[in-house]
Symmetry: C2
């Protein structure tokens, strides 16, 4: 005997919601039911926002940041310091940098980091376009702002070597104690790097 379940439209909505990152089966059900019961929540607004984002948002061919019809807000920012090029892993890494308000140069998003175990090679990253950008303006200082993990380090080393014949300045962001962090909370590697990076 078939037991009673949600109507088909709700089941389909739950299955679409379940695919989102961080949304499990129970959250998906809660969200779906909430949307149906709170007519004021207006699922149409979310549906429209989804379709608009899908249709309009792409990736900048030059720097790799998100672009829409208005073009790339990074590459078009003429008031920014063109002689500083901050290399980050993901396009999303630009946002925390910008929110901190401490950097006013240009960005280059690699689209990931080297990870041979996951079959991510230099060809999978936007490294050749980085090379072209630096070759086009050799006075640029390239700041490598990659993760402080093994893959991030390996990627930074690889780019460093690649850029060394170009005679441009290559720096890396400092690794050390995070702000507000005491010594008792720091792991061995963080402490080692904090000591090595002492000024």
């Amino acid at each position: 005997m078939a037991s009673i379940d949600f109507p088909q439209a709700v089941i389909e909505l739950v299955s679409a919601l379940k695919k989102l990152p961080g949304v499990g089966p129970r959250s998906a059900e809660r969200i779906a039911v909430w949307m149906i019961q709170h007519k004021k929540a207006n699922p149409a607004i979310l549906a429209e926002a989804l379709e608009k984002a899908e249709a309009q948002v792409g990736s900048c061919p030059s720097c790799g940041f998100f672009i829409d019809d208005a073009g790339c807000s990074v590459c078009q920012a003429s008031h920014r310091d063109q002689s500083l090029l901050c290399v980050v892993e993901q396009a999303t890494d630009v946002i925390p940098m910008e929110r901190s308000g401490v950097f006013e140069g240009m960005y280059h998003c690699l689209g990931g980091k080297l990870a041979p175990l996951d079959n991510i090679t230099p060809d999978d990253l936007r490294i050749s376009s980085l090379l072209q950008r630096v070759q086009a303006s050799p006075d640029t200082e390239v700041i490598l702002a990659l993760s402080a993990d093994v893959e991030g380090e390996a990627t930074a080393n690889y780019i460093d070597e690649l850029l060394s014949p170009l005679d441009c300045k290559v720096t890396r962001i400092a690794h050390g104690l995070p702000a507000g962090g005491g010594l008792e909370n720091a792991d061995q590697l963080t402490l080692m790097r904090a000591l090595q990076g002492r000024r």
Copy 2:
């Protein structure tokens, strides 16, 4: 100087996602970026599912469960035991009952429970339609399956009194130790009810 941010379409998507229950600002951003970067995720499928659910899903005028174009799967289920009427708070409460597979009667969803402090009075619940259903078939056993909290108890008492002139059988689901729960984890009230409900 304006700092770089996501394109407008992404910001709008994040703000729509943030309104969902259990989705905070950071989750909303993660979901939005994930959708844009995983083109295979196909936001259009979610958008379509949302619109379909909004357009098709309503509430059954008789029992209060979700209905779609095909009608109410509870009220139309002719093979179910018509002489058992399980009263639950929310339409969603039907789903765990059905998944447990232990009940094969009909349902009536109140749409909430009495809560004078939140201004939820009998008129806000589907109590008068419950009365009509029971009056129409007085042989029905009404099973009150409401929450084991103060409001749930109050609602059960209220309905119990309301149905008493109708000469129908009114029962309540048992309160006691949950399956797998030891005495050491049970709170005082649970233990008291478990003792009172001993058989």
